[in-house]
Amino acid sequence: MIQFAIEIPYWGQSLLRVLGGLVAVLLPAGTIVYLFLFKMMSFMQSRLGPMEAGPYGSLQLVAEVGKWMQKEDLAPDAADHRIFKMAPLIVLLSTFLLVVIVPFGPDAYFTNFSVGIFLGLAVASVSVLGILIAGWASANKYALLGGLRAAGQLIAYELPMVLAVLGVVIQAGSMNMQEITVAQNTGSWFGLDWFGSPFIVTQFVGFVIFMIAVQAELTQAPFDMPIAESELVSGYMTEYSGFRFLIFFIAEFATAGVFAFIASVLFLGGWGIPFSWFGWDNIDQVPDWMNLVGPLIMFTKMLVLTFIIMWVRFSFPRFREDQLQTFAWKVLIPLALLNTAITAILKVAF
């Protein structure tokens, strides 16, 4: 976290980290839901969306949360109650674990883990567990089918995601998110250093694969086979109501925000602006005000990337289950392997 001039006791730092984590998870989630789910989707369907609660419906989300909170917390008789009630929390937990690795500024990070992206990819798959046990514990055939579909899909699309990240890691020479950020902002193309070298240019194939895999990991359309509402009611969320459904809902969009954060670190240069603009040579020369500007830059990049995610979601019809798996195993994974191999060869060659 931000280093202040005054010494903060350990409990204070922990408190700050928790508050920062809540802001970093919930603020993007709320923004995505209002800006994209409520407004952009409506506009793309030539309607206005919520307009009554607050100016331009900006308080609609508060109303929705209030509605969900007062609903009864139902669980089916046949459900495995303890696990049924735990599942949404596990899904949300993976989101909070995921945001830990994201750096928001030179000193504004939760933890500067040396193998940050590795940890991120590992904890991202924790949500699969939550979804799978949600589907199993519901004692409902729709939920079970949805949970199994989700597990199959998330495992299939984890691979191209990991392989796409591999290209970035090879190029940056580090798994540390901070060093990946610095590598993009200090790099240059053929002597031109006015724009750094964001990996979206050199790793464009990797970027596209990563975004497709993120789309599938978030089970956003066209990859929403696990919650296909026209055949599975709502998949693994079928039996959930009230605030447990709310937690699933928050987790879905918070994870979208966090994955967009990670994608912007990996491919768009993270919190940094090209260091040559201000004549910085390395991270030690970056002044403290970047700790305040950095989060804003990250937030902007997150909005751009989630815009793309939501835009794709609202435009395309759903993949069939076999198309979904074929696309991952026969197209994305070979492509990602090829990308990794070529990146490695070029890295050694130059």
């Binding site: 030539s46 309607r47 206005l48």
Partner: protein, 163 residues
């Protein structure tokens, strides 16, 4: 391998949604913010059925043709003055009760079609919801009031009247 979506089509699809987004922002939405601004229904819209009481002979055709049995008619026979001087007084049906239960009505319009005396009309008026379901039973006074909202019948097509 199943047919994959073609790449240009994918971008075309993205372009369509973005185009509609732009149109909505620039020109406004196709929808109407209902309680604040009202939509003008087309003049032949099936909003509510109006009763022209003078034309009704209590013949019961509408009540019997109604699939939902939502029309209630009661009448009695009474004598009316003769048409010509010195003639016999006529016997006519007088309408005592004509109710339509809009909680049951499914707006099929068969009653309007079947009425041989032009006593029932469609009106495009649609704002008559009630807090209590029993209030959706419109009696003949209320059905008569709807007559004011019945639009003029559109002109017949050219040649329609030729025998």
């Amino acid at each position: 391998m199943p047919d994959k979506p073609k790449l240009p089509g994918l971008f075309k699809g993205l372009g369509i949604t973005l185009g509609i987004l732009k149109d909505t922002v620039v020109d406004g939405a196709n929808t109407v913010q209902y309680p604040h601004e009202k939509e003008a229904p087309p003049i032949r819209a099936r909003g509510v059925i109006a009763l022209h009481e003078d034309n009704c002979t209590a013949c019961m055709l509408c009540a019997r043709s109604c699939p939902d049995w939502c029309i209630y008619i009661e009448g009695h026979k009474q004598l009316a003055p003769a048409r010509r001087a010195g003639g016999k007084p006529r016997q006519v049906n007088h309408l005592d009760r004509f109710d339509i239960d809009y909680a049951l009505c499914m707006y099929c319009g068969i009653c309007v079609e079947v009425c041989p005396f032009d006593a029932l009309f469609w009106s495009p008026e649609y704002e008559y919801s009630e807090p209590k379901i029993a209030d959706l039973l419109h009696d003949k006074e209320k059905l008569g009031e709807w007559m004011e909202t019945v639009p003029e019948a559109p002109a017949l097509e050219a040649g329609a009247q030729k025998k």
